[in-house]
Symmetry: C2
Subunit: 595 residues, 2 copies
């Protein structure tokens, strides 16, 4: 639903458009990127309050107390990021906005999935509260998979149909966030029918996560009522999803997918209106360096899509997906969110107008946004710290004990992201498994206080043999404490550093912490400004690079935080054990197999 | 908002898509017109209940109790008519549906503007009741201009912001219907701000009527919150409206506009998603002969638009305008409304599937729809007859008396549709104006019983000198009794025939009625089946042709029923006198002017 505009402002805008009143702000001398018609048109833009009041011939009007000279510049609609998790940037909304708004993003659809997995509905409420009043319009998608693999993991909360119905009543919530429990949807479990059904009953969007889905399964998934997907892996599923009428939220976070997909797009007779862009997950240092969605748009253009078409996807198409006709165009009556570009193909953002005000120039916000997060007088205005409900762990927590002596055969996780089951024979000393050559150990510990904190350690093949340990409280999707390493001393040091600081990410070598990024908000988000968080994460990456002997192509942290994603098929370690999202099985990683 | 689908049907459709259950109906061997990608794709379509469950490779599935062989045929989404008035067809919804559904229209956005001007909100309620359960999905737009020219005419009812707010709460109502009071919107009258404001607050569409509007006025009209227009007159306003982000509802009822408009469309770099098709007003004989929207689509294609693009406009684009993602595509999870075409460029409709059932073949519905209109047990289930609140009129009612003798100078209406003011000297006999050579008289009489029935007779230049009289109770927009003629005997005969039969249209010559089409429902709609109504109207046209010496290019009845459209600038006769929508003036047509 469109934003309600103050009727007084609208009435004044109507009179200004007619010439019977002055504009508040005039953007003069620019070229409008008309994403409706595809034209580049010389035009001035008159703004009143938060509204575009008029788009008219250059020089026709001069009556405005403020005139912004945009001669030689392009005026594009504010960019809309159709699907993302602020949490991936490790930044609170205020800090996230400080980075992406100067890069042209004025609207985001935020699925606070990670916050919800730690804090439940309180996390979603906090997300709403702290993203109000930002120059970044934040629309909330209600997390649908908390936990994403029921029975295979224990998150900080559980969301069912009743909770979903609650959230969908909140005006800030624009739909059901990515429906990850694909098997549940296909099998038609009562749980997933309830959640999707709540979305359908609300009339709001039901967004998807159709990883690797195609053919009959894809048809079934769409028929269930899910109408979008961002998990494109190649040209074939991209085309199948467009043809199924799903809105494809093409993401920039997986650059290797773009060439094939955009080549396929070029073969289509018409530009599909159900194609939008999104960032999904961007780490803080990348975000600060490249600006998120702006970078995605420029890469889409570099792959041969015309600048106007690429910008249309992420503006008008996105607005249509959101069922809003007050966004997505530089046109009268729309929200005055405008990106001033000095160059079109490279998407060089020079200035940004949000809600009618020039808010950024040359990559910087013009005013500092108020901190700390959550100033409003609501039960949730406080910052949700203290989610690390775990005492310091002894060294033994990071050992894998099977009892007995000699040798034993155990299950192992093969691969870093697309995992498969394997077996390995190990040596035992006093009942403790000696991590085999070339292997790593992964310990998961429940940190939400909803069950005893029993450490579960398993063997992982595909990470090489770490020369230290990495610990993280970001561990999709339940965000329990995850520690990767070989030496229990290193693992203990990294883990206890996080337990002490309320969560975050840490690297340890030779029993000492070498890098620590505290994420005190829910163990997920930093409280530091964006640049500081980015720098801290870059240091963490360097420290991790020293520890890891092998770098997966998608980087250690993307792999590590995703290794516990139990909704995916194949083995995944969780706080409950070694699980398989394909079969629904849970194994004790210490269970020995017959030789 | 999307239609709610029975969860049991949806669950079965999901299992059918996966192959775990059979379809109810399979359309086998056809080519899907994929209006998302622009492709023509060989594919079979599996249907469960009212839903498309699966679109899959030809021959992949055969498990369905009913298989429809569509080899060599094209499968397009059901056509959506984005703006029309059933009343223009003189048919009740059941009869209208019997004509347009076999021609491929499965969804209509009906503005029951004429019913509302006679019956107020009761007319809208009746429209809703009698269009339920048809194979034609009827979405209601809430009439916004009742009357369309407040102060210049007296309609049967008045609709203000409170009534609009009421109607917008009804689930069948999808938005505010065409906002015709353009001056009111531009000047920002409290009345129009209230009505448009109700629409904006509801989150539903606010549809426009921006006749001749462009430049600053158009910007102001869009900024007021109106987001569509169907009153395109030429390429320039067409382009300006698309650029303003308004949804252009390009209509087939004004064929002469299409060439210029579609030539302009071809110059645009991208196909605007804010371009849809509509019929607006189609007379019954034309409707029966050509099928309405189908005819419009074929003419758009004949003017050079690709068939897939033309069909996209009237399916996917229309669905997006309606903010519905359950319509507009042959794709899984969408409503099973499918048009089977034997030829694409000519839009040759062979079969029609609506809500999952084959409902029409070879231009005919497969089953007769239940009559009479309004079978439900509601206060409005009765047919609204008896709206002719007027006694038989004496001959004198059709004379123009100014008093005195000799000669007098009077105002006159020049032109038949785009009218202008004129003056004429007339001869008087016993105070009665002798209609000058080449002129006609128009008498308007209030028929709604809301004021005394004072006949108002004026002089009209532009209709030639009628050899008889034509009377109609369809007289936009207040639908008072309108009689055109020269001889008071003829005019009396035609008028009293309508008063006797509860309204309609009549032609009289030499004091005798030569053709009569009763429209007992509100004085607007026939109760006869479509073919009978069409034949009756054709006879009326023939009788009128004998009476009229001059045929305006848009035909006598279109001109005649529109001559009283007081919201337009220039002179228009109403029940209150001679009015001017441009200046807001009302004159007594008997007022003599200085010589």
């Amino acid at each position: 639903m469109n934003e309600q505009v103050d009727p007084v402002i609208r009435a004044r805008a109507v009179q200004a458009a007619r010439g019977a009143a002055a504009f508040d702000l005039l953007l003069a001398g620019g070229t409008v990127v008309d994403v409706a018609t595809g034209e580049l048109r010389a035009a001035d833009v008159g703004i009143v309050g938060t509204l575009i009041a008029s788009v008219h011939p250059q020089g026709a009007r001069e009556d405005a107390p403020a005139v912004e000279d945009v001669a030689g510049r392009f005026l594009a609609p504010g960019f809309i990021d159709s699907h993302l998790h602020y949490e991936s940037s490790l930044m609170a909304p205020v800090d996230y906005a400080s980075v992406v708004v100067p890069a042209g993003t004025t609207t985001c659809v935020w699925d606070p999935h990670e916050l919800a997995n730690v804090l439940g509905l309180d996390g979603v409420r906090w997300a709403i509260e702290v993203s109000r009043d930002l120059p970044l319009r934040t629309l909330i998608a209600a997390p649908s998979c908390v936990p994403s693999a029921p029975g295979l993991e224990l998150a900080g909360a559980e969301i069912g149909a009743a909770e979903m119905t609650d959230m969908l009543r909140w005006p800030e919530v624009v739909g059901v966030a990515e429906v990850m429990d694909m098997p549940g949807v296909l099998r038609g479990t009562a749980h997933m029918r309830g959640i999707v059904g709540a979305g359908l009953a609300s009339g709001k969007n039901v967004n998807g996560h159709a990883r690797g889905m195609r053919d009959a399964d894809l048809q079934a998934y769409a028929t269930a009522g899910v109408t979008s997907d961002h998990e494109i892996v190649e040209a074939e599923d991209f085309l199948q999803k467009l043809r199924a009428g799903m809105t494809v939220e093409l993401r920039g976070s997986h650059d290797y997918v773009l060439p094939g997909v955009l080549t396929a797009l070029a073969t289509l007779p018409l530009l599909p209106p159900n194609l939008v862009l999104c960032t999904d997950d961007v780490f803080p240092d990348e975000l600060v360096a490249k600006g998120g969605l702006r970078d995605t748009i420029s890469r889409v253009i570099a792959r041969g899509v015309s600048p106007v078409a690429a910008i249309r996807m992420t503006t008008l198409h996105a607005a249509m997906r959101l069922k809003r006709d007050d966004l997505g165009l530089v046109a009268p009556g729309r929200q005055a969110d405008i990106v001033v570009l000095s160059d079109l193909p490279s998407v060089a953002v020079e200035r940004v107008v949000a809600a009618g005000r020039v808010v950024a120039r040359e990559g910087r916000l013009l005013s500092t946004l108020p901190r700390p997060h959550g100033a409003r007088d609501t039960p949730l205005a406080h910052v949700p710290r203290g989610t690390m409900k775990l005492s310091p762990q002894p060294r033994e927590a990071f050992e894998l004990r099977v009892g007995g002596a000699g040798r034993a055969k155990l299950r192992k996780v093969v691969g870093a992201r697309y995992t498969s089951w394997g077996e390995v024979e190990v040596e035992l000393r006093d009942g403790v498994v000696q991590i085999p050559r070339g292997h790593a150990a992964i310990t998961m510990i429940h940190r939400h206080g909803r069950a005893p904190a029993v450490p579960r350690t398993c063997l992982a093949d595909g990470w090489g043999a770490p020369r230290g340990a990495i610990a993280t409280t970001i561990a999709h999707d339940s965000h329990n404490l995850l520690v990767l390493g070989r030496d229990p001393d290193d693992m203990q040091a990294a883990a206890n550093a996080l337990i002490a600081c309320g969560g975050g990410m840490a690297v340890a070598e030779r029993g000492q912490v070498t890098a620590l990024l505290p994420l005190p908000i829910a163990g997920l988000l930093a409280e530091t400004p964006a640049a500081e968080t980015a720098a801290g994460f870059a240091k963490l990456r360097e420290a991790a690079d020293r520890v890891m002997e092998w770098q997966p192509p998608f980087r250690v942290f993307r792999g590590l935080t995703g290794i516990s994603l139990a909704c995916n098929p194949g083995p995944h370690p969780t706080d409950l054990g070694l699980t398989d999202g394909g079969t629904g099985e849970v194994f004790d990683p210490a269970e020995t197999l017959d030789a």
